[in-house]
């Protein structure tokens, strides 16, 4: 007989939609309501059946696999622990404890998504709010360098564009929606105003907006591929709105300028609070990447790119970030937790994983796992594993797993590895 479970949290993306209705029968999800295609795929394709760990592709016992993982990490002079964004915060805490014990570098996928946003927060601060405030109050919603229609599919309907809120009783009609991007996307189609900025010119446009908001005169007729009159219109809307919010994405963090682009945006948003109420919320990609930043910051003082190799945490974007240490060949073993660097990092970095022993903890088969020395197939957070995840606005949510758990969790496996390795 099937069971209906309500208010389930989807852990696919940083929106953490917590209203899914899941029907489960015989240990598998058979029906799903309210999920988008991204979240639905996660729930429908996940097979929670127990899987044996492997060493060099051969099935082994959990004891042997953990012993081998501990041996690799113990023998390493410079291990890397990477990933963390698709697992629960309880496991993230263990990963950092393991890095501390090993004297390892620990870094999350933040470094290749919103790492530059973290740098900007540290430079100019983060004028932020919750998605609940966006839903209930925002009358000017700007999406800059992001495409939620493809990456955070229900963001528009749950939080930012369509919902009827306390001060937005007419939903979409009570909001002005602006999208800034280098190309038309599925998201630009919902916009009242689409500003197609020239590639790599976001900084110039943001600086110009800061000047226009302050009433300065600009003599150029075009800035960053956009007519000045259009930017003046946006600056006026920004000053005159009741509650504005900018959702920003990889269009700012992955282009030239990176953190400097984001710092300029955060400075603009902070200054807009002289005229109106204004906030910014980064569009966090993975389900608990915001949690990775939170937990790293509680535990080490820094959000990513941390090395324990001197016995205390040191912060080094560019020095201890994963792409850099792999591309320079500076690590001699890697523990990858809930991430697939072989699929998602530049080849110059990913190929180093072929040269060093790699251990993978992941509920799903990955390209990194296919090449790894040790694979530990764990339970999936939010599907069959309990835990906490942080939404993109850093609100922690308790997960509600829907399937009976038949595999160990990342937290349990990391605990066993911590016990098995001697302190450095």
């Amino acid at each position: 007989m099937s069971t209906l479970i309500e208010n389930v949290v989807c852990t696919f993306c940083g929106s953490l939609c917590d209203d899914l209705i899941v029907e489960v029968d015989d240990g598998r999800v058979i029906k799903l309501r309210k999920a988008c295609s991204n979240g639905g795929g996660l729930f429908q394709h996940y097979d929670p059946a127990p899987k044996s760990p492997t060493i060099a592709g051969q099935e082994v016992t959990w004891e042997d696999a953990i012993r081998e993982a501990a041996r690799i990490l113990d023998r390493s002079d410079s291990p890397l622990i990477y990933g963390l964004s698709s697992t629960a915060s309880e496991a993230q805490r263990k990963a950092i404890a393991l890095a501390d014990k090993l004297g390892a570098i620990v870094d999350s996928t933040s470094s290749v998504c919103h790492g530059p946003t973290g740098l900007a927060m540290q430079t100019v601060g983060e004028p932020t709010c919750t998605l609940g405030e966006v839903r209930n109050r925002a009358d000017l919603v700007i999406f800059w360098g992001c495409n939620p229609a493809e990456s955070h599919t229900r963001h528009f309907s749950r939080y930012s564009v369509m919902p009827k809120g306390m001060l937005t009783p007419n939903g979409r009609r009570d909001r002005t929606v602006v999208v800034v991007d280098v190309r038309p996307t599925a998201s630009t189609r919902v916009a009242d105003l689409f500003l197609q900025v020239a590639p790599g010119k976001d900084y110039e446009v943001l600086t110009t907006l800061r000047a226009l908001v302050k009433g300065k005169t600009i003599t150029s007729e075009m800035v960053g591929g956009l007519p000045l009159a259009q930017l003046q219109l946006l600056a006026d809307q920004m000053r005159e709105c009741r509650f504005g919010v900018v959702h920003m994405g990889m269009g700012l963090t992955q282009t030239g300028g990176r953190d400097v682009n984001v710092s300029e945006l955060f400075a603009l948003v902070a200054e807009l609070n002289e005229y109106s109420r204004f906030s910014v919320i980064p569009m966090r990609g993975h389900g608990n990447v915001a949690g990775a930043d939170q937990v790293m910051t509680w535990q080490t003082g820094y959000p990513f790119a941390v090395s324990f190799n001197r016995g205390y945490p040191r912060y080094g974007p560019g020095e201890f970030t994963t792409v850099d240490v792999l591309a320079r060949g500076e690590v001699d073993a890697a523990l990858i937790i809930a991430s697939d660097p072989v699929a998602h990092l530049p080849q110059a970095a990913a190929r180093h994983l072929d040269r060093i022993p790699t251990i993978v903890l992941d509920p799903m088969p990955t390209l990194t796992g296919a090449r790894a020395q040790v694979v530990l197939p764990t339970a999936c957070y939010g599907l069959d594993a309990l835990g906490t995840a942080y939404r993109m606005d850093s609100i922690p949510l308790q997960l509600r797993p829907v399937l009976p758990r038949q595999r160990p969790t990342d937290e349990e496996v990391l605990d066993r590895i911590i016990e098995a390795v001697p302190a450095c």
Partner: protein
Amino acid sequence: MSGNFTLITGRTRAQGDGLHQGRDSEAYRLATRLVEMNDEDMNTLGVGEGDLVSISTLAGQVTVPVKKGDLPRGMLFMPMGPTANLLVGGETESTGMPSYKGELAEVEAV
């Protein structure tokens, strides 16, 4: 033709769907092994939808089928994944972030 194109990579819904079917699945391979181009650039290059083009950056070279995209002239879009990442360099400007968006690329019909 070779030319100065700007390559941007990013998420697509098909790439997300392929991810769930498995990164070794045909759906994932098809979703991540393509390039989108402006149709005038395709005409200049003499290629139609599905034709193979060779894309080169300082980091590497790939040969992928081309698809018409709603893009400005001079821009290439590739879904994030192992094929696009052959074209992205390992430099991060001391931030940790490679140039997933903004690599200069050359394109030639195959």
